[in-house]
């Protein structure tokens, strides 16, 4: 194993973290170039993540032990469970890390011109790097307390970025405060749940806790805490109300990263129920809890979106709605986890649909938020009632919006259709009504984006926007890359499902493989 690969798990955390501390110092010398430095660092991190993904998908999980004599020495002699912090990256972890790497890199590229007129950019980029670091950490750590630390860093950096001073309109400080309160509640609950594990099993390593799991009353309480707060951080209804506030007030590039950060919480929810608890819990009950949260999120999210007039708020409600699809797909997988026949017949497919939708959603929702940012950049408003006729002047943005809107509405041949089709067909075998609701929500999603398209892009040129031009190249580039990914995933979904999604689903389901990677054959 090459030296770079061996240390890659630590490097994808260390690089953006070190750069975060360097950014304020470097900005003292040349504040204008700091955006390029941050983009370069996140670009290198993306390459490193791709390199690791190639290795993990071929050779299996990667582990990294901090402070050990060897990076792969999980059990020092005399111990039967790990005591050091360990990063454990399996197919599911790297799947999420790829999303984080792509999204944070493109956010930095987009911000080069989107944010250039604003002051305090050293703080902006430092926080962006910290947010990326924390998301990577949440996704690759194999230690539950270490997860809590990254979870907290993600919350703190998100609060500061939502409230970033440079947002012209709206109430970013209020949105940041609300997010801070709900994040504090969730952090306390997560810490309490971790305490319950530690108190019973004397272990913080996820694989060790999974192998010791007895599903006691205390474990049940920990489960309830984890499910509630991680579903809330993912934006599940009825705990979603922070989402439109935070997503609409943050700068557009940050909103895109916040979507990925919410998905990191969703990943944590799935990791805990599948890897730590697995079939020790009542899979049907917990599966149905997740399904119901998913259906509520899908339906209430989309119906609330239809009546919005603020473009980013509308898209934020759609983010809630799309999270519902992920919860539905994976919830069905959880509900049939203890039934090998149903799991084989449709459970794995439902989970593939849900997990594939995580990546698709990060790409098309990211693109849509960037197009909303482009409209705001040129018009200075997020109010759809004040927009119109912008397709005449903003050709690229219009095309990117159409691609993103078609993808989120599940129109072929874009990526959203591929993952939704898998969800519809597999969920139909579990419960036809759920599948019908999912299809109805897609129709309402299309209706909602037709409204946005008509309001913002169609119609005659308005007098106040006669001088509007297309957005600068760095913004077009970031949107263009996302559009290309959406089209590619839509045309060749089989490549992504076979090589990324299916291994990720199997990594979630196969608890013994996760534990044996750390604990050996015990």
């Amino acid at each position: 194993m090459s030296s770079i690969l061996m240390h890659a798990p630590a490097l994808i955390i260390a690089l953006p973290l070190l750069a975060a501390f360097l950014t304020p110092i470097l900005s003292r010398f040349n504040g204008k170039k700091i955006s390029w430095f941050v983009s370069a660092v996140l670009g290198i991190t993306l390459l490193l993540t791709l390199y690791m993904a190639g290795h993990i998908l071929i050779d299996g999980p990667l582990i990294y032990v901090f402070g050990g004599s060897e990076a792969g020495l999980t059990l020092p002699s005399g111990y039967n469970f790990p005591i050091r912090i360990i990063f454990q990256i399996d197919a599911m972890g790297i799947f999420m890390a790829l999303i984080t790497a792509v999204v944070s890199f493109l956010a930095a590229i987009y911000s080069i011109t989107y944010m250039e007129e604003h002051t305090g950019l050293d703080k902006y980029y430092t926080l962006l790097l910290l947010l990326a670091t924390s998301m990577f950490g949440m996704e690759i750590t194999g230690d539950i307390f270490n997860f809590f630390v990254f979870f907290e860093i993600a919350s703190i950096s998100s609060v500061a970025l939502i409230s970033f001073r440079s947002t012209i309109s709206g109430e970013p400080a209020e949105a940041g405060l609300k997010y801070m309160v709900v994040s504090s509640i969730s952090a306390l609950m997560v810490l309490f749940a971790i305490g319950l594990f530690y108190g019973q099993y004397d272990a913080l390593n996820i694989a060790a806790i999974a192998s010791f799991m007895q599903y006691t009353q205390l474990d049940k309480i920990a489960l309830i805490l984890f499910v509630t707060v991680l579903a809330m951080k993912s934006g599940a209804v009825p705990m979603h109300m922070w989402t439109p506030d935070a997503y609409s007030e943050a700068p557009a590039a940050i909103t895109m990263v916040l979507v990925a950060a919410s998905q990191a919480s969703l990943y944590a929810l799935f990791r805990i129920i599948f890897t730590i608890y697995n079939i020790t819990l009542n899979t049907v009950t917990v599966g149905w809890i997740i399904i119901i949260l998913g259906v509520l999120s899908m339906f209430i999210g989309v119906t609330m979106a239809i009546i919005q007039k603020d473009i980013k708020r509308l898209m934020a409600y759609h983010a809630i709605s799309q999270t519902g699809y992920m919860l539905l797909g994976v919830g069905v997988g959880m509900a049939v986890l203890a039934d090998p026949q149903a799991l084989e017949s449709f459970g794995i497919s439902a989970m593939e649909g849900g997990i594939f939708h995580i990546m698709n959603h990060a790409m098309y929702k990211g693109l849509l938020f960037l197009t909303a940012g482009a409209l705001f950049y040129r018009t200075g408003t997020r109010d759809l009632s004040k927009m119109g006729g912008l397709a005449n002047k903003m050709n690229y943005t219009t095309i990117f919006f159409i691609i993103g809107a078609a993808a989120i509405a599940g129109i072929p041949p874009f990526n959203g259709f591929a993952s939704k089709l898998i969800i519809y067909e597999s969920v139909f075998q579990f419960n036809p009504l759920l599948s019908i609701i999912a299809m109805l929500v897609s129709i309402l999603t299309l209706a909602s984006f037709v409204k946005v398209f008509h309001s913002a892009f169609l119609g005659p040129q308005l007098e106040e926007y006669k001088t509007v031009q297309e957005v600068p190249k760095s913004m077009v580039l970031a949107m263009g890359v996302l559009a290309v990914i959406i089209v590619f995933f839509g045309l060749f979904p089989d490549i992504i499902v076979k090589n990324l999604v299916h291994p990720a689903v199997m990594a979630l389901i196969n608890q013994s493989r996760y534990t044996s990677t750390i604990l050996g054959g015990m």
Partner: protein, 113 residues
């Protein structure tokens, strides 16, 4: 054609075949369209919409804004929307209450199962 062939668990999906089908059907539609009426004259009254009663409003004033779109839909679902919108108070106390409420419900469900 195996390139792009996605197995969905119950069937198959191939976006490339779909695109080819759209192109073939689109070509057929275009062919039929070209076989149609050829007395259409550009830049004549034929191209203007027929509006009875009121004078035609200017293009700039004819754009339907976001607040007017789907008015009928939301009006018909007024009984659904009124409590739903009221639920979104914007108060952080309510945000926290929802978390506690959901936690209590899950506590009961998981506790008795």
């Amino acid at each position: 054609m195996n390139i792009g062939l996605l197995e969905t668990g119950s069937g198959y999906w191939n976006a490339l075949v779909w695109i080819i089908a759209v192109l073939v059907i689109g070509t057929g539609v275009l062919f039929l369209r070209n076989k149609g009426e050829d007395k259409y004259k550009k830049d004549t009254n034929q191209t203007k919409p027929f509006l009875s009663g009121n004078p035609e409003i200017s293009k700039e004033d004819s754009h339907v804004g976001a607040s007017h779109i789907y008015w009928g839909f939301t009006e018909a679902l007024k009984n659904y929307y009124e409590p739903l919108v009221k639920m979104h108070t914007g108060s952080i106390n309510d945000y926290s209450s929802w978390i506690i409420l959901v936690m209590a419900i899950i506590f009961i469900i998981v506790g008795v199962s």
